[in-house]
């Protein structure tokens, strides 16, 4: 049974899907024998796997409650402790969440992309680099990236949605192409996607001018750009491409960890 638990956990990691491991940490009375037992729970309705089956103890209802609690923990991407009091004794569980990893798409394979891809991979983002210049979107420049894609920006970005109408909330997009027209083209493509993070490089002046232009020429109201992190990155005085990559990655971490730090965006608008 242990083997089935482990196989379920490794298979889920390979499929890049969220999974929770429920473990019995402590239990009293008739339930004491459950300590160290496990249940693997997925976010969808798949039948949980493991040796923590309570039907034989007439605690089937409690099991349903645990599975729901584990699914809630998955939703919140947060490890959770559970305590229950039953007629048979108290029981304490730990829900360990193995969240779906965040994907990071870097549009533009230039000077900032190289250190950003390397560092983001270290921080366990699944990195895809995209550029329309094959000599830049080259595997040898991004040895640790999950994917390196060469092709027209908009077409390839659409293809990266994987057949879905929008990107999912586990995807981050950083726009650092060589020309602002490409950044803007991609920005408009994903403006309504529920991305975890959407950032665009450019100076304060440049960004303001771009948003004003889009409002004037395309009638896109300013508030629709509110969630765009532009200028991109945390304010750390970054100057070199590597330092800018650090500032961007720091902002990505702050956003994906739910601790919005003071970005450069807030101070510029």
């Amino acid at each position: 049974m242990r083997q089935a638990v482990l196989a379920a956990l490794t298979a889920s990691a390979e499929r890049r899907e969220a999974v929770a491991l429920v473990s019995v940490v402590a239990a009293q009375g008739e339930l004491a024998a459950l300590v160290g037992r496990h249940l693997v729970v997925w976010a969808d309705t798949r039948t949980p796997v493991g040796d923590l089956q309570l039907d034989e103890l007439q605690l089937g209802d409690l099991q349903v409650t645990w599975v729901e609690a584990a699914r809630a923990a998955l939703q919140q991407r947060r490890h959770t402790q559970l305590h229950y009091t039953t007629a048979q004794g108290d029981i304490q569980l730990f829900v360990e969440v193995q969240p779906q990893p965040y994907s990071l798409i870097i549009a533009g394979a230039g000077h900032v992309a190289v250190p950003l891809a390397a560092m983001a991979t270290l921080c366990e983002f699944t990195v895809t680099v995209l550029d329309d210049r094959p000599q830049y979107a080259d595997r040898t420049r991004f040895p640790t990236a999950h994917q390196v894609v060469a092709g027209p920006f908009r077409d390839e970005l659409r293809r990266l949605r994987g057949g879905q109408p929008t990107f999912d909330p586990h995807t981050c997009l950083v726009l650092v192409t060589r020309g602002h027209q490409h950044d803007v083209e991609l920005l408009l493509e994903v403006l309504d996607d529920p991305l975890a993070y959407l950032g665009m490089i450019g100076s304060r002046r440049r960004i303001r001018a771009v948003f004003e232009l889009l409002e004037r020429q395309r009638g896109i109201p300013r508030h629709r750009f509110d969630r765009v992190h532009a200028p991109i990155g945390l304010e750390i005085g970054a100057e070199t491409p590597a330092e800018i990559a650090v500032a961007i990655l720091a902002e990505l971490i702050a956003v994906t960890r739910g601790r919005p730090a003071a970005g450069r965006t807030a101070s510029s608008r």
Partner: protein, 114 residues
């Protein structure tokens, strides 16, 4: 891919090793690692991961070796609230509860893993 904690655990079991898995399940105050941090306690000292190092981790390893012998899962409380003047390293000011369990290859090896 293939380098997650559970892949490393699977590899050890596939190699016929029994190991103890330590998981931080609760913290109070300031602690070196967060809830959910995991570590493999290896019978020959080739541990994987860290629950924060120092004396606290030494306790986890010691209990892990006990768990390897008797197979009884248990929770240890690591108290890092000693006064700073005690000069012991790794004093952060918090308390952590660490669940430690034995994981064996299938079928479970019955012999003493040492």
């Amino acid at each position: 891919m293939g380098t997650t904690f559970y892949h490393q655990l699977q590899q050890l079991l596939d190699d016929g090793m029994s190991v103890a898995v330590a998981t931080i399940v609760q913290v109070k105050g300031s602690t070196p690692r967060e809830v959910g941090t995991k570590m493999i306690v290896h019978p020959y000292g080739k541990h994987i991961g860290t629950v924060g190092g120092g004396c606290g981790e030494a306790d986890v390893i010691r209990v892990g070796l006990d768990v390897l012998v008797d197979g009884q899962p248990r929770t240890v409380r690591i108290d890092l609230t000693e006064p700073i003047q005690m000069e012991s390293l790794g004093v952060c000011g918090g308390i952590l509860d660490v669940l430690i369990e034995r994981w064996c290859p299938d079928p479970p090896a019955e012999q003493d893993p040492r």
